[in-house]
């Protein structure tokens, strides 16, 4: 009887340890950019160049995640990228002249959209559009600009 008891205790401890390891794995190693809001509203924005922005990328304001990107498409008429964002409904007082820029988290990080508050009295709501946008910085363009400017600087 004593034998079975110790076997059962050992097994119980093992299973508990395994379960907690599984729990630790699912909760602690994942979900840095978790965003879940029950109610959201949709906003659109056009960008000249979205770089490597992907759906599910976070939308943040002052460094706090307030929404995420749901769709990135190309508009064949305007010849620009259309980005659809959803924003948590509790943030319903974002001025509608705020500007959206595509930023990179860290040197090797993924890209996200940063919103910078404007000064308007009307607010972003479902279906509104962000007019002031700033494209992603593409390294090749940057290097190109740098070469051109340093070349012209040498002539003077």
């Amino acid at each position: 009887m004593q034998q079975t008891r110790s076997v059962e205790i050992g097994t119980g401890l093992f299973v508990l340890l395994g379960m907690s390891a599984l729990f630790f794995m699912t909760t602690q190693t994942t979900g840095g950019e978790k965003f879940s809001a029950s109610e959201t509203f949709e906003v659109e924005a056009s960008f000249e160049n979205v770089g490597s922005l992907k759906p599910r990328a976070p939308v943040s304001m002052s460094g706090v995640t307030i929404g995420r990107v749901t769709d990135v498409t190309f508009d064949p008429v305007a010849l620009e990228a259309r980005v659809t964002l959803i924003i948590d409904s509790q943030y319903d007082q974002i001025p509608d002249d705020s500007d959206a820029s595509i930023l990179t988290a860290g040197l090797l990080g993924s890209q996200y959209i940063g919103l910078q508050a404007g000064g308007s009295d009307t607010f972003l709501e479902n279906g509104s559009e962000i007019y002031f946008t700033q494209s992603a910085i593409v390294l090749e363009n940057l290097i190109g600009k740098f070469l051109v400017s340093s070349g012209s600087g040498g002539d003077e």
Partner: protein, 257 residues
């Protein structure tokens, strides 16, 4: 020439027959499983103890050092690009998706699989299985099924424990010894590990658990009932489990990508 062709034909046929017998054996084990779980859960618990709880030491020690070496290698290579903060990402993805399930399965084959097949093989060699049949006890149900189920339950838990001790080992090496920033270590990891990656790892651990336990039980049950036969069955368990685990790992990864 004709003899050679016939030999090849016979060998191929024999291989196909063994493979088919293996599938039927699997179905037989599955068919008996629900009854054992419902009526004699004690037998399964005892086997979870044998295969799982008693493998904890080897799993945790190996996990710690595998994580540690990943941290060390990751750090020294990433430091060339000034990206040593990403060491958490590298270690976590490697452990969760690949090394956790695969190394645990190989260790499981070495620690628990050999024990299972030699135990069953020895039972067969000493006529215990025949004795059971004489007493109208079905040895498949009484001996094989609990051992199989014990392995299937123990494997995913062992993989989770291996992965967590690995992360701990990497944390000790990277954060405590090489002074990577602790916040960067975890944040980079959390940014890049998706729940999809964990699902892949867990799926692998279930598949490997089924394969490793089934092969161990099968080899033991089909061992030639002599001292040499049992020894050979034990060896075959490790060899075949290692090969099938690595092939399956490749296939699952290819499908999940």
């Amino acid at each position: 020439m004709k003899g050679l062709l016939r030999d090849i034909y016979n060998n191929v046929l024999e291989f196909v027959r063994t493979f088919g017998a293996f599938q039927l054996f699997f179905l037989r084990i599955i068919r008996h499983s629900p009854r054992i779980v419902l009526r004699r859960p004690g037998l399964v618990i005892k086997q979870i103890h044998n295969t799982g709880a008693l493998s904890l030491v080897i799993i945790m020690v190996c996990g710690f050092f595998v994580g540690g070496v990943l941290g060390l290698q990751g750090y020294s290579n990433l430091a060339r690009f000034n990206a040593e903060d990403s060491v958490g990402t590298v270690v976590a993805l490697a452990l969760i998706k690949e090394l956790g399930p695969v190394i645990t399965a190989l260790l499981f084959a070495g620690r628990a699989g050999t024990a299972l097949s030699s135990e069953i093989g020895l039972m067969k060699a000493t006529d215990q299985l025949s004795a059971m049949e004489m007493m109208a006890v079905n040895p498949v149900r009484r001996v094989l099924v609990p051992r199989f189920l014990g392995g299937v339950v123990a494997m995913p838990l062992l993989v989770a424990i291996f992965t967590c001790t690995g992360l701990f080992g990497a944390h000790v090496v990277a954060v405590d010894l090489l002074s990577v920033d602790v916040g960067a270590f975890w944040q980079q990891m959390q940014l890049s590990v998706d729940i999809k990656d964990i699902r892949e790892g867990v799926l692998k651990s279930f598949v490997f658990g089924i394969v490793a336990s089934l092969l161990a039980v099968w080899e033991g049950y089909n061992a030639i009932p002599t001292a040499e036969g049992v020894g050979r069955a034990t060896t075959r368990t490790v060899v075949i489990t290692a090969i099938s685990v690595l092939i399956l790992d490749f296939m699952i990864t290819a499908v999940m990508l």
